[in-house]
């Protein structure tokens, strides 16, 4: 099926070329980082994780959210999702690849990465993260590819596939739970030391992921002959709505616990992020932008008449995606390090090389996603089927 990715319109090739250019720029700066060291980033002794690890965290959520289309389709036989299940699975593949790359570019000694396998350490959460992420990549590649191949041949997918589908459904929440465990079990990191971290991660994942899927489905409809279907998009809209509400509710719980208890170590990171602490306030505008986007998205999502308008749903999805990207793909990691272990403040802001490397990784993800989606769409256009029998 790969050959279908080699035939495309002018727009398709311009897009591919564009992504390759950004990847090239990212690669040049990565080589610089490889030679000089992580000193070219904005990270420091006090804020020792930054943009890379926060992108990783956010993208694990996007990857996990694939289950939001796989589950209703395979377990509840929700037919409308039959057309977009493959989009969810392929999005998961691209997202997990980006996660792995973001961990890789964050390593000080990347050539030693195999030490994680050569010296397996079951007391480290990182060990489990490696297992769940690679397992999830394998499951989605297997399920997505096999289902699509069968569809192309016009036959139902093999029966054994169902077992892997069920494993992947159970597996999906585990990748984001384990990722939350990287943070929520660290003594002395008050901002992260919260039992609701994993639940909050899942809520934000299951809203930001489907929101991205809505945007992607609309793009596909605009540029190809394949229509993911109005009903499927509306159903995704409902999923985004409920999980966005849950996410905002969970964030509210964090605020209540911190400010009603009034324990300084617990309130400080929140004050730093949303109001500024002792005159340090670099993240305040971003965090408020996140809040405003969240409010706009909720208004558009909660009122059914607005949500049913596809244009407004698209705007709401963009708002959800960026609101949660700021919240989890930036603030959450930095907030854990401010103030530091000595209750002192060192601020963090990514450098240009750091952002370009990150953009390079995102572009690799989008390149993989584009190729996979191109294959999926080509098969659909070729088969021309409206009703897919799995």
């Amino acid at each position: 099926m790969l050959e279908t990715a080699l035939k495309g319109s002018r727009t398709y090739w311009i897009w591919i070329l564009f992504l390759l250019t950004i990847i090239g720029i990212g690669l040049i700066f990565y080589i610089k980082q490889f030679i000089v060291g992580l000193g070219i980033t904005g990270m420091s002794r006090d804020v020792s994780w930054g943009f890379y690890i926060s992108q990783f965290t956010f993208l694990v959520g996007i990857a996990a959210s694939g289950v939001m289309v796989v589950l209703p389709y395979y377990l509840h036989n929700y037919k409308a999702f039959g057309r977009i299940t493959i989009l969810g699975e392929f999005l998961a593949i691209a997202a997990v690849l980006m996660c792995m790359l973001f961990i890789f570019v964050d390593l000080g000694q990347p050539l030693r990465v195999l030490n994680v396998i050569l010296h397996p350490t079951p007391n480290s959460v990182m060990f489990y993260d490696m297992i769940v992420l690679s397992g999830y990549l394998f499951l989605n590649a297997l399920v997505g590819w096999t289902a699509l191949s069968s569809e192309r041949k016009g036959v139902p997918p093999p029966k054994w596939l169902k077992i892997f589908v069920i494993i992947s459904i159970v597996w999906a929440p585990s990748i984001h739970t384990v990722t939350a465990f990287l943070y929520q079990g660290l003594p002395g990191k008050h901002f992260w030391m919260t039992a609701i971290m994993a639940a909050r991660f899942l809520a934000s994942a299951f809203s930001s992921g489907p929101a991205l899927l809505i945007i992607l489905a609309l793009i596909i409809r605009k540029f190809t002959k394949f229509d993911p279907g109005k009903e499927a998009i509306q159903a995704l809209g409902k999923i985004v709505t409920y999980f966005m509400i849950t996410n905002v509710f969970f964030l509210g719980l964090e605020f209540f616990t911190a400010f009603y208890s009034a324990i300084p170590a617990h309130t400080h990171p929140f004050v730093y992020l949303y109001a500024g602490l002792e005159g340090y306030n670099k993240l305040v505008p971003l965090m408020w932008l996140s809040n405003i986007l969240a409010i706009i998205s909720l208004v558009l999502l909660v009122i059914p008449q607005l949500r049913r308008n596809e244009m407004l749903l698209a705007i709401a999805s963009v708002c959800v995606f960026f609101s949660l990207w700021i919240d989890k793909g930036f603030g959450l990691i930095v907030g854990g390090f401010v103030p530091n272990s000595f209750e002192k403040i060192t601020e963090y802001w990514p450098t240009i090389p750091e952002v370009l490397i990150a953009l390079g990784v995102w572009s690799i993800g989008f390149l993989v996603l584009t190729i996979l989606y191109k294959i999926a769409v080509s098969v659909r256009e070729e088969v021309g089927s409206i009703d897919i029998h799995h």
């Binding site: 420091s44 002794r45 030693r112 480290s124 854990g336």
Partner: protein
């Protein structure tokens, strides 16, 4: 029997995955006993089950008292002076009372003046229950079973900095770039580090092995007491049982091995 290219690739792929997993599983099964024991121990080696240091803060009076201790450590361990606080590398340094013990007495303005103004030496606490060891994905940082020292294998460290996030004492530094150009005078007796690895105080394991006390303790002229907590007759046990001492963030359950003698 012919094999189709497609099938070959499938088999090759599965074998590769199984191979990587297999190596992992084998290492897990390996008998635990990877600590270096194949060398002949120096008869002068100091013997102890859990090393600790008590710092008598009253004996640190002038800035020179602190500088002497810090320099003793940093010079023999090739700790670079990068000159940029964001990329700073330090094994032992000073912080105020308020910043060293933030949970002890948060924002108490009525505390004795001499405490408020006094710098406190801070270093790796060589915790009995070290979070950094718990989180390290490669065992590059590990607690030595024989004497409780939290060690660092700079050749195994992948530079993921999970230990830096895990340490509640800010004791760990990362080499954000090659440190060698920033080392004033390289001590050939001790390895210098490369970029991309984490480092910290290792309780002068190399000095203990030849019967010497840690460099900071030696340079402190009696203001720091080094000894074995497991030995009830050690000097440090005598000091701890007779004078009032505190430790940093004891509520976290890490059980630090660095004590601060506050009272008489």
């Amino acid at each position: 029997m012919s094999i189709r290219r497609r099938d070959f690739l499938k088999i090759a792929g599965v074998s590769a995955i199984a191979g990587i997993g297999g190596v992992s599983a084998l290492s897990l099964l390996k008998i635990k006993g990877s600590e270096a024991s194949s060398y002949i121990e120096d008869p002068k080696t100091l013997k102890g089950k859990r090393w600790a240091i008590a710092i008598d803060i009253q004996k640190f009076q002038t800035p020179e008292d602190y500088a002497r201790v810090i320099n003793a450590c940093h010079s023999i361990h090739n700790v670079p002076d990068i000159g940029n606080p964001k990329e700073e590398i330090k094994w032992i340094w000073t912080e105020s009372y308020e910043h060293s013990f933030p949970s002890q007495d948060y924002g108490n303005p009525y505390i004795q003046d001499h405490l408020k103004k006094k710098p406190f030496l801070v270093l790796c606490n060589h915790c009995d229950n070290p979070p950094c060891v718990r989180v390290c994905p490669t065992k590059a940082t590990f607690k030595r079973k024989s004497d409780g020292i939290v060690m660092m294998d700079m050749h195994r460290c992948i530079g993921c900095r999970f230990c830096m996030a895990g340490c509640p004492y800010g004791a760990r530094s990362f080499n954000w770039r090659d440190p060698r150009p920033y080392i004033k005078k390289i001590n050939p007796e001790f390895p210098a580090r490369m970029k991309g690895v984490v480092e910290k105080c290792t309780f002068c394991y190399q000095r203990i092995a030849v019967g010497l006390q840690p460099a900071c303790v030696e340079a402190s002229k009696g203001a720091m007491i080094f000894g074995d907590l497991a030995d009830p007759n050690s000097e440090i046990r005598r000091v701890l049982s007779s004078r009032y001492t505190i430790r940093r963030k004891p509520e976290l359950g890490t059980n630090p091995s660095i004590f601060y003698i506050i009272g008489g």
